[in-house]
């Protein structure tokens, strides 16, 4: 990373309760292992199309969702597997969707970029960059209109900040004072183009100034820190109905998608980043708090869950063509 964002170290925070940290670690590890298995299945041709992995960024989704109530809403980008799991969707529904199976969260009709789960208020992954940002503002409008006290988290990459949808969404949320938190997961690359060549400023949270809303910026190394900083913005949204624009600096260890060998960055850079892997940092902290044996037991539980999810996806049936039209329109289609 070229510059250090102002980032208070965890020493200023109360240490996480060990059992809470264990849960955050467990979620991050589920995401990591699910995606490693998805990458393997992709290489075997069992998952097709595009697969954008979240590996390296897990602390953002898990820390942010930990700051929410179950009824709160999450809207995110196409890099959405981790977010859906952090919001509470089952790894089975996620994996089956990647495999294009009928038991997937979107009946196998969507695939990787379409993680929806009404039961957990996971409002989906969106494949058109930035288009989901006004949509998230609309969800927050509905909360305010009904006075139901819910908060919407809207995630996007730094690449979306240059698209009109970002401006329209944040602008309306600021104008209407909506209970929403805009969270840029700045992983430094818009596909293959580095931040320095895609935007005139390095800090995307600066955009908040033009809308007159609060902003924040920090690294995603420490999942506990992510939770606390997002929680402050969630509180502002819930109690004052005011939006916040946040930049979380993070890094994806894999390419943009499975078809991207990521030759635009050096292996040294990636190795350097992996030393800050939020999953390993959380694991180290958890071993200190609960001991190696307990953490190994958690790891074994996660391995079993992920193996189950893969088996479930492998064995589930594919949807047949009869579902196409009824899923496009509510009723039978004429003409």
């Amino acid at each position: 990373m070229s510059e250090s964002p102002p980032s208070p170290r965890p020493s200023v925070l109360p240490p996480p309760a060990p059992e809470h940290l264990a849960e955050l670690y467990r979620q991050m590890f589920v995401i990591r292992r699910c995606e490693e298995e998805a990458a393997r299945a992709y290489a075997q041709g069992k998952i097709g199309g595009f697969l954008h992995l979240y590996i390296g960024q897990e602390a953002v989704a898990v820390g942010a969702c930990a700051a929410l109530q179950p009824d709160d809403y999450v809207v995110t980008t196409y890099r959405d597997h981790g977010m859906a799991i952090a919001k509470g969707m089952s790894s089975k529904a996620m994996m089956a969707e990647l495999y294009g199976k009928k038991t997937g969260c979107s009946k196998g009709l969507g695939g990787s970029m379409h993680m929806f789960d009404a039961a957990t208020n996971m409002l989906g992954g969106y494949g058109i960059v930035g288009a989901h940002i006004p949509l998230a503002a609309g969800a927050a409008f509905a909360s305010k209109y009904r006075n139901d006290g819910r908060v919407t988290l809207c995630f996007y990459g730094e690449g979306a900040v240059s698209i009109g949808g970002f401006h329209e969404g944040v602008s309306l949320a600021a104008l209407w004072k909506l209970p929403i938190v805009f969270i840029c997961e700045n992983n430094e690359y818009s596909m293959g183009t580095p931040l320095s060549r895609s935007m005139s400023v390095e800090d995307t949270s600066l955009k908040a100034l033009g809308y007159g809303v609060e902003r924040d910026r920090f690294f995603a190394d420490d999942v506990n820190l992510v939770e606390h900083r997002i929680a402050a913005a969630v509180k502002r949204a819930r109690e004052e109905s005011q939006p916040t624009v946040i930049e979380v600096r993070t890094y994806r260890f894999r390419g943009h998608s499975m078809s991207d060998p990521a030759k635009y960055r050096t292996s040294n850079e990636v190795e350097e980043q992996k030393r800050r892997d939020p999953l390993l940092l959380a694991r180290r902290e958890l071993v200190d708090a609960l001991g190696e044996e307990r953490v190994k037991a958690i790891d074994a539980e996660v391995e079993a869950e992920v193996a189950d999810a893969v088996k479930f996806a492998e064995e589930s049936p594919e949807p047949d063509a009869s579902v196409l039209e009824p899923t496009t329109y509510d009723g039978p289609f004429a003409a």
Binding site: Y73, V75, G104, C105, S106, K107, G108, L109, G110, H114, F116, D117, A118, L123, G124, Y126, G127, I128, A131, H132, I133, P134, L135, A136, A137, G138, A139, A140, F141, A142, S143, Y145, G164, G165, E168, G169, S171, L172, L175, L324, T327, T328, Y329, D330, G331, F333, A334, A335
Partner: protein, 327 residues
């Protein structure tokens, strides 16, 4: 029953829907205090307040995008796009999100809304205030498209559109906003979607089916009256819902007349007329006595000075009808 024009009938439908259902919110540029550029939403702001009749900035992508988010969480937004020509900054939201949400969420998150927008030429609006973009939406699976020709249908179709489970684009022919007048019942009623209406029946053997909608329906009627004098009888079908269309009513008429002329303002190429002709060929080929014919706008931008040549007015429909009858 009260005499109303199209504007008053649509306004009446919106007021009824808002009274009956607090999920309904109206939003758009100038729709609140001003009452809309064509005054279609006049009075709603005073009656229902700024939380339900929302003045937005100039932000079509933002209007439609936030409306989708509202719909996902159970509101029933009725965004107005000030002119259909301005819908394109928000086109991505309609094509990529609105139309596809039911499908790509496996049916979990249908996004229901009715997008209202004035369409069509005839007000000397030039190329940014005159277009008829229905085909660009019909081509996108997941959307329904409605275009009323009279106040009775406008109110009934709008109320039906609000109750229909799928997203609807409600195209209002602005040329006849005030010119089209008629009796409109008080209170609630619906005109079913996907049901065309035969507004004039053909008599005799030399007959032609004319399919039209919106403002062009009146041009078709005027042409039919002239054709009658030349011994050609027209059966006129007002399509009312453009998609999914009531092809059965069209085909039934063509089986009777053996001839069809389709009229629309939009450019000819890949216009809805092409699809209707294809469907007639598939479903009534052996009944045809003449090649199906289209009278349409041209494949050019919508002109300012040559508006009355561009539009498929009665003087262009008449020779097409007569030639088809005499083929």
């Amino acid at each position: 029953m009260a005499q109303m024009n199209l504007v008053a009938a649509i306004n009446d439908a919106l007021r009824l829907a808002m009274k009956a259902d607090d999920r309904v919110v109206v939003m758009g540029e100038d729709v609140g205090k001003v009452g809309g550029v064509f005054r279609v939403t006049q009075g709603l702001y005073d009656e229902f307040g700024e939380d339900r009749v929302i003045d937005t900035p100039l932000s079509e992508g933002g209007i439609l995008g936030t409306a989708i988010g509202m719909a996902l969480y159970g509101l029933l937004p009725v965004p107005e796009i000030q002119f259909a020509d301005f819908i394109f900054p928000g086109y991505d939201q309609i094509v990529s999100e609105l139309a596809k949400l039911r499908y790509r969420s496996g049916g979990e998150y249908p996004a229901k809304m009715v997008i209202r927008t004035p369409v069509g030429g005839g007000i000397r609006g030039g190329l940014y205030h005159s277009q008829s973009p229905e085909s660009l939406f019909i081509h996108v699976a997941g959307l329904k498209v409605v275009c009323p020709s009279n106040p009775y249908d406008a109110k009934g179709l709008l109320l039906a559109s609000l109750r229909d489970p799928d997203p609807v684009l409600f195209f209002e022919p602005k040329r006849i906003y005030r010119a089209a007048r008629g009796e409109v019942p008080e209170g609630d009623y619906t005109v079913p979607l996907s049901k065309a209406k035969v507004v004039r029946e053909a008599q005799g053997s030399k007959a032609v089916t004319v399919v039209a909608w919106g403002a062009m329906l009146y041009e078709a009627i005027a042409a039919a009256e002239e054709a009658e004098k030349q011994g050609v009888s027209c059966e006129i079908v007002d399509l009312r819902t453009l998609w999914p269309l009531d092809i059965d009513t069209v085909v039934e008429s063509v089986k009777k007349t053996g001839r069809v002329v389709v009229v629309h303002e939009a450019p000819r190429t890949c216009g809805l007329g092409g699809e209707i002709v294809a469907l007639v060929n598939e479903k009534a080929f052996l009944h045809l006595e003449a090649p199906p014919c289209r009278v349409t706008g041209f494949d050019t931008p919508f002109p300012y000075t040559l508006e009355m040549d561009y539009l498929p007015l009665a003087h262009r429909i008449l020779p097409a009808v007569v030639a088809t009858a005499n083929y």
